[in-house]
């Protein structure tokens, strides 16, 4: 694992919604194999930044380079190729409700590969096991499983193509503390096992403490701090002081 290689680099990104300036020159980078977090008060544009990186939203100016591609001028085919190299876990899971868990996971394999049904089944079974679901859960529909299981199922779906980078939008929100800690452990385990990089938006202090290698704090339209937890907590900023001091003590 090359620790120093940049897998994602955001440079001077400016985002405007109408007249409302959301990001005013955001700079950060994520190294390969790292678990990286976007932190900040609600409404600071953490999720927006993530949505810009995964090409769901447009930014006004600046540059985002992901896996060696500048996404602001990426062509259709290259964009499609990029989409196969990442996995995304949405806050509300976004599992397809009309498909079973196993079908949800198998979808990309059926669309993008010509593997035999039995091979697809093996891969699905493997992903179901690796996220900590039971094999039987694969036959159930999303409406029939609990919130924590939905998260795991959505994670299995995000992992199915062996992505290089995984995007998680508030992965532990809506989970009970035990499931949330299990999920944290799962993310770290998957990073160690599969060597993927993880970028997540999170509010969960324990999760920040347990999982993140580095993080960026977004406040007042800019990055106010970037680095490890120790580095970030040393920086003087009203948000950081409130967030970490009141949360941890």
């Amino acid at each position: 694992m090359q620790q120093s290689k940049k897998i994602l680099e955001v440079k001077d990104v400016v985002t405007k919604f109408g007249k409302n300036l959301v990001h005013d020159g955001v700079n950060l980078h994520v190294n390969a194999g790292e678990i990286y977090g976007f932190l900040g008060p609600s409404g600071c544009g953490k999720s927006t930044l993530m949505r810009e990186i995964i090409m769901l939203e447009q930014f006004h100016s600046g540059s985002i380079e992901l896996l060696g591609q500048k996404i602001e001028k990426v062509r259709r085919r290259a964009a499609q190729n990029l989409r196969m190299q990442w996995g995304v876990l949405f806050q509300s899971n976004a599992l397809y409700t009309s498909l079973t868990v196993a079908e949800n996971i198998a979808l990309s394999l059926q669309e993008y590969t010509k593997l035999s049904p039995s091979m697809i089944k093996d891969i699905v079974a493997f992903k179901i096991d690796i996220v900590g679901l039971k094999q039987f859960d694969g036959t159930l529909y999303p409406s029939e499983i609990s919130g924590g299981m939905k998260k795991k199922a959505a994670l299995a779906r995000a992992l199915v193509m062996d992505p290089k980078i995984l995007f998680l939008d508030e992965p532990t929100s809506g989970l009970d503390p035990i499931s949330a800690r299990e999920f944290d452990a799962l993310i770290v385990k998957l990073r160690d096992l599969l060597g993927i990089s993880v970028v997540m938006v999170t509010h969960d202090l324990t999760s920040i403490h347990n999982t993140l290698d580095r993080m960026a704090v977004i406040d007042n339209k800019k990055i106010v701090a970037e680095g490890t937890l120790n580095e970030v907590t040393k920086i003087k900023s009203p948000f950081i002081e409130r967030f970490f001091d009141e949360g941890l003590r």
């Binding site: 085919r77 190729n81 196969m84 409700t97 009309s98 079973t100 196993a102 079908e103 198998a106 394999l109 993008y112 590969t113 010509k114 593997l115 035999s116 091979m119 089944k121 093996d122 891969i123 699905v124 079974a125 493997f126 992903k127 179901i128 096991d129 690796i130 094999q135 694969g138 036959t139 529909y141 999303p142 409406s143 193509m161 062996d162 096992l193 599969l194 060597g195």
Partner: protein
């Protein structure tokens, strides 16, 4: 980009072992090539020892690891010795992980149950759905009677809102459509009537057909498409987002708050819509009578008063509330049948429209027979 041509499973037979060597960058998108070649190679395998050579694989992904692990397990079961060589980086770890987490025996596809089972299960579902409809109808009637008993409880505001939403807003489209239907019917019949010189009878024909059948039917079909579908979708989404449950826990009976206002509003507005549809339909017919048959509006109205009995008008209006009940109950019932997935909204909305139009037509046929036999 990935190049499938560069990926291959090279099989070489050496002294006492078969060598499987993977060449190229076998990402998951090109794994099918390896899978097929492996399948062919295994068929002809007649050795007691297999060597996997992974020296060309820079990064072993989980899918390829699974494929190899499965092959190793299969080989072990038939007493073939397997050796993996040339592993780079995390390959060893990945193979171990694949072995630990693999479940080759898993089956996710639902079991085929056979025709007999399917017919039985389907019948049961339909019976249950009929039962649920009766339960719904019963509950709605209860709430209706209750609100008659205590008029203060009745939701006047919601009802008036629905009167505006599903009744008054539908007026323009109902009137326009009926105007066009009046023109079409008049035009088609005028060519026939001209042949016999029976021009004046267009008034009888239009009067009876529009007042008695066409206007009520058309208004009902438009409302079924417009309001039946919207009731089903609205209430369906409210069910998914747990708004209905929230109402129940706050002590607002969804039947009193959502169901009854919609039904009462439609019952009130349907005759009014039919009334306006009558007017525009006749005006459309009158226009064609003037243009095509040279029948002046004065003459048309005179003849109309003479020959078209007022009972036709009343019968048309009388059907309105019955159609309204059918459309509203089916639409709302379908909304309440929505389950916790997105597809069932589409499914139930479609059902709401199709079933309510069907029910309206059946109901109309019954009325037709009953009224004719009663001598109206």
């Amino acid at each position: 980009m990935l190049d499938k041509r560069k990926v291959a499973l090279v099989v070489t037979h050496e002294k006492d072992a078969v060598h499987f060597k993977i060449e190229g960058e076998p990402a998951i998108q090109c794994l099918d090539v390896i899978e097929k070649q492996l399948k062919n190679a295994v068929k002809r395998l007649n050795t007691k020892s297999v060597v996997w050579d992974l020296s060309c694989v820079k990064k072993l992904d989980s899918a390829l690891a699974l494929l190899i692990v499965k092959e190793i397990e299969r080989a072990k079961n038939s007493d073939i010795e397997v050796l993996v060589t040339g592993m780079q980086g995390d390959a060893q770890k990945m193979l171990h992980m694949a072995k630990d987490h693999a479940h080759f025996e898993s089956e996710f596809a639902p079991k085929e149950q056979g025709l007999f089972y399917d017919v039985g299960a389907d019948t049961l579902v339909r019976l249950k759905s009929l039962n649920a409809f009766f339960a719904f109808f019963g509950q709605m009637s209860m709430v209706f009677l209750h609100s008659l008993y205590r008029l203060k409880m009745f939701r006047w505001k919601e009802t008036l809102f629905e009167v505006y939403e599903s009744g008054i807003k539908a007026l323009p489209i109902v009137m326009l459509t009926m105007f066009l239907v009046g023109i079409v019917v008049a035009y088609q019949s005028s060519t026939q009537l001209k042949i016999y010189g029976a021009n004046i009878f267009i008034v009888d024909m239009l009067g009876i057909s529009i007042l008695r059948e066409l206007a009520p039917m058309l208004a009902a079909i438009i409302i079924a498409g417009r309001s039946g579908s919207s009731y089903a979708a609205q209430i369906g989404v409210m069910k998914i987002t747990e708004e209905l449950d929230a109402m129940r826990t706050m002590g607002f009976d969804p039947y009193a708050f959502l169901v009854l206002p919609r039904m009462m509003a439609l019952m009130l507005m349907m005759p009014i819509l039919i009334f306006f549809a009558d007017i525009t339909g006749i005006i459309g017919g009158m226009l064609i009578a003037k243009v095509d048959l040279g029948l002046s509006p004065t003459l048309f109205v005179e003849r109309f008063i003479q020959v078209v009995h007022v009972k036709h008008f009343w019968i048309g209006l009388f059907k309105g509330p019955f159609f309204a009940v059918l459309i509203a109950t089916i639409g709302i019932y379908r909304g309440l049948q929505v389950k916790n997935d997105t597809q069932s909204i589409g499914f139930n909305t479609t059902k709401a429209v199709v079933e309510s139009i069907f029910a309206v037509i059946i109901c109309d046929a019954f009325f037709s027979i009953i009224f004719t036999n009663m001598g109206f």
